[in-house]
């Protein structure tokens, strides 16, 4: 008979302090987290150094395993060996002002170019006006004006003489010129004119007409003259400007001769200075364009000071190696940069100096770390990232353009070539969803760095965990941990892993425990943290969050929730479920009952009927029908209708871990054998009656233990668990103690037969060669009952039989 409870040492996979060769963690070489992620580190190093396209990285794993820390460690090391990438600047595009051009400059020189350009503008502002105010310039300008004037006056004078010879005067009116008949060198008096004979008046009219026409012809040549004059002035201005600006720009060109891109830019600047030299003159000096120029200056939208500025988008001054950028807010603008605006006479305007870098610019040539959940939560950001990686360039697009209604006067900056490695950090679910739903994802993020959530305790795992504790203690300046305390931490790490042979790799949880232990040790006045402090910290954490557990257990103890922990009942078994509440879980017993009657072979799951049961739960129940049919009625109809229910369960039930309990309830109901109520069971079954491992075994055992302890342990109580779960046992020390004292028991079973024997105290019975079951066994009683039901069914189905 294998129904012997597990010995206490099997209930908790203790960490033997004698296996930890140190006194306190101060003796240890501290381990920098993350913990036991060698595989992930290797994958990450591969991803970070693989230069081919599409080898961007997705670091996936549960929260708290140290994804960010490992990423930061690996990337910082890689980046330190990489060259410092270029500076990036935006400058004005003289050909297409709405498309600012970019300049790629050696690291740290962008700022120098900006300074040089601003010095150039300053010098131009001083030198250009000086040149245009010089005596020489004024003389030349005067000469040009004079020439125009003389030409014009000369021509008018000539015409005037010609007119006078023919008795016609050329008169200047307020708005123009006129011709009039002349007498004695002056315009004729009207009266005198009227007294002239008719033929004389006729003659004068003819002369007037001729001179008038000649005058008209002359005046019509004036605009062309003016234009020529303006051109001459402009050409002269250009010549003067070239004289001043030429050598200033040349000087700069020499300084930047090693960078053809900059030289080309300086050439365009030189040409622009010559074309727009008036912008450097203050316009108050009676220049013909005085007022208009002043207005332009006031509006100042496109002034030289702005046009010749250098917008250093990315400055690598002081950077050693490649940049590693973690963008906390990966919004559209946070990634690709943005175009700012400034208020200008009541409207918003922009130019290239208002372009601002995004994380892609800053990380260009290095590494960009992004939290995948955050980037997915930001409008446009995910598409922005993929577009940038796919096209290999960063394009600063204002969001309104992405939405299809481009703002007036907006910019389209030259896209900047992009060469960087993106490391997404996120959970596994999002990785799966992205792989499944985003066809571009797999092509761009080829390296999956999958973090472990647990690691073996063997092969030095416990020692490394001890060193991790030492690392946390050192980093956070906490108390050292005694060896016993570390052993207790290891045990808790195993409990968190839900596996006696493993420990969790969730460094965050370990670190929390270490910190809380330090706090407890401080309260207890211990200079070095002891095992008792670890336990105190764990107990305190439990107390902080166990309100719901207390209330649930209290309701059971008080009898509000009906769970028997003593006596025996037919068709009634204590099942165990796990309640999960915000990252914390606890076990609670539930009463499962079964009723049977004549029927057509269905097992009715009441939870499912009312849609309180999930699909896995239903699957477990349907398996039961398979078990009964296969074992007891392979060659006859199963004339049974059984109903199963989780009593007093008003929330949903999911999972198949109660299917063995349901089966015991059914067997008990059919065999009419009472089940011991001091025992709770967990485990799923298959159609052959084998009991299979389930999750949350520790919480379940402890949940029942807590209820029994409240009611008083009588030494008969215990829990039946699947044998497959034995390795997962990391029960609380108090449960282990009660077991050692014989006041509580944990049995493991492989088959339903083993379980039913424990529950009923009656042998299950093995199938005999003749197809029958041993007399008095549970199976024999079930078989007999099912046969009786089948017989009864036959009676009802005979012709003429009543329903």
């Amino acid at each position: 008979m294998p129904n012997i409870p597990l010995p206490p040492d099997r209930l908790r996979h203790r960490c033997d302090p004698s296996g930890l060769p140190f006194e306190t963690t101060a003796d240890l070489e501290p381990l920098d987290g993350p913990f036991e992620q060698a595989r992930a580190a290797e994958a990450l190093a591969f991803g970070a150094s693989m230069r081919s396209e599409g080898y961007h990285v997705y670091a996936l794993g549960p929260p708290g395993v140290g994804k960010h820390r490992l990423v930061s460690q690996v990337l910082t090391a890689q980046a330190a060996r990489a060259p410092v990438p270029s500076d990036w600047c935006y400058v004005h595009s003289f050909e297409e002002p709405q498309r600012p051009r970019h300049l790629e400059l050696p690291a740290g020189t962008g700022v120098r170019l900006r300074q040089d350009m601003s010095a150039l503008v300053e010098e131009l502002q001083a030198a250009v006006p000086a040149a245009f105010e010089s005596e020489e310039y004024r003389n030349r300008l005067q000469a040009l004006h004079k020439r125009l004037e003389q030409e014009r006056e000369g021509a008018l004078e000539q015409l005037s003489k010609k007119a006078q010879a023919r008795g016609v005067a050329l008169v200047r009116t307020p708005l123009g010129l006129a011709v009039a008949p002349m007498k004695d060198g002056e315009v004729i008096e009207p009266d005198a004119f009227h007294k002239l004979p008719e033929e004389e008046r006729q003659r004068i009219a003819v002369e007037l007409q001729a001179i008038q026409e000649a005058l008209g012809d002359l005046v019509r040549t004036f605009p062309a003259q003016d234009r020529r004059h303006r051109e001459e002035v402009k050409a002269m201005n250009r010549e003067v400007a070239l004289g001043v600006a030429g050598h200033l720009v040349d000087e700069l060109r020499g300084r930047w001769a090693h960078l053809p891109q900059v030289v080309a830019y300086l050439d365009t600047v030189g040409r622009d200075v010559v074309e727009n030299v008036h912008e450097f003159l203050d316009g108050s000096g009676g220049n013909e364009e005085g007022v208009g120029q002043q207005i332009r200056k006031a509006l100042g939208e496109d002034s030289a000071v702005r046009r010749y500025a250098v917008n250093v988008l990315v400055d690598r001054t002081g950077l050693a190696g490649a940049p590693v950028v973690y963008e906390d807010l990966p919004s559209h603008a946070g990634l690709v940069g943005r175009i700012e605006h400034r208020a200008h006479f009541g409207s918003l305007v922009t130019d290239f100096t208002l372009l601002r870098a995004g994380a892609l610019h800053r990380a260009n040539g290095g590494y960009l770390v992004l939290d995948v959940r955050r980037i997915l939560a930001q409008p446009f950001a995910w598409d922005d990232l993929k577009r940038a990686l796919r096209s290999g360039q960063i394009r600063i697009d204002p969001p309104e353009r992405l939405m299809g209604f481009g703002g007036a006067g907006s910019l389209e900056p030259d896209p900047i070539p992009l060469d960087l490695k993106v490391i997404l950090v996120g959970d596994r679910l999002l990785h799966l969803l992205l792989t499944e739903l985003d066809p571009e994802f797999a092509g761009l993020f080829k390296v999956a760095v999958d973090f472990e959530d647990q690691a073996p305790r063997a092969d030095g795992g416990e020692m490394r965990l001890a060193r991790l504790v030492a690392g946390i203690v050192r980093d956070e300046k906490l108390r050292s941990f005694e060896r016993d305390a570390v052993a207790r931490v290891v045990e808790h790490a195993a409990r968190l892993a839900d596996d006696g042979g493993k420990v969790t790799t969730r460094v965050r949880d370990i670190a929390d425990l270490v910190r809380e232990t330090d706090h407890a040790a401080a309260a207890a006045g211990h200079p070095v943290a002891r095992a008792a402090d670890v336990q105190a910290a764990l107990d305190a954490a439990d107390r902080r969050r166990d309100r719901i557990r207390r209330r649930t257990h209290q309701a059971i103890v008080e009898g509000t929730l009906l769970v028997d922990t003593a006596g025996a009942q037919v068709g009634q078994v204590n099942g165990l479920s796990v309640v999960q509440l915000g990252g914390w879980s606890f076990g609670r017993p539930s009463r499962i009952t079964a009723r049977v009657r004549l029927g057509r072979g269905e097992v009715v799951d009441i939870e499912r009927e009312v849609e309180l049961g999930g699909p896995i739960h239903s699957k477990g129940v349907l398996i039961l029908a398979g078990f009964f049919g296969g074992r007891f009625a392979p060659d006859r109809p199963l004339s049974l209708r059984a109903s199963l229910v989780f009593e007093q369960s008003y929330g949903g039930v999911e999972g198949d871990s109660a299917s063995s309990a349901e089966l015991y309830a059914l067997l008990s109901a059919l065999a009419e054998l009472p089940v011991r109520q001091g025992i709770a069971v967990t485990g799923s079954v298959n159609q052959h009656g084998r009991v299979q491992a389930i999750g949350g075994v520790n919480e379940k055992v402890e949940g029942f233990y807590d209820v029994c302890r409240e009611r008083g342990l009588d030494g008969s109580q215990g829990v039946v668990i699947p044998a497959g779960n034995q390795r997962h046992l990391m029960l609380r020390p108090d449960v282990v103690e009660a077991t050692a004292a014989g006041r509580f028991h944990v049995w493991t079973v492989d088959t339903v037969d083993e379980g039913i024997e424990i529950l009923t105290g009656v042998p299950a019975g093995q199938l005999l060669a003749d197809g029958s079951w041993p007399e008095g066994s549970v199976n024999a009683r079930v078989d007999a009952r099912l046969r009786a039901l089948a017989e009864a069914s036959k009676t009802y189905s005979m012709p003429g039989a009543g329903p």
């Binding site: 008169v171 200047r172 009116t173 307020p174 708005l175 123009g176 315009v187 008038q212 003016d226 009676g286």
Partner: protein
Amino acid sequence: MTLRTARRVVVALDASAPSREAARTAAELARRLGAVEVTGVFVEDVNVVRLGSLPTAREIRLPEGTERAIDLETLETELRAAASRARQALAHEASVERVAWSFEVRRGPVMNVVLAATGETDLLVLAEGSALFTGDLLERLLGAARSLVLVAGTRGRRR
């Protein structure tokens, strides 16, 4: 008489741009010389007035070169407008220089009007390139002037 003792500065004005420059020069001189006031004399050329009364009167406007018939009434209006602009220009320059000013309009042959003005002042300012002094008028005037005459060019622009 010397410039140092000039008590009054007269400037001959018409509608043209150079005469506004002359107003500026006159106002500045008045201040520098400590003159009592600067007087603007707007000269209405009698030839223009006569022209308006002739049935044949036509005008070519500047700078566009269009031709139109004109009458006395139109001319008078335009002369008044030009005088008003000249008055404003003088007022402005005088206020800049903080000197007293007066303004009058005189009609007649240009030579007569301006020559008469030289008899009433210590210093007469004329604008070089003014539309008033066509042909040899300026030379004749300088020969006959009874006061100092300053022909203000456009060269002396201040920045």
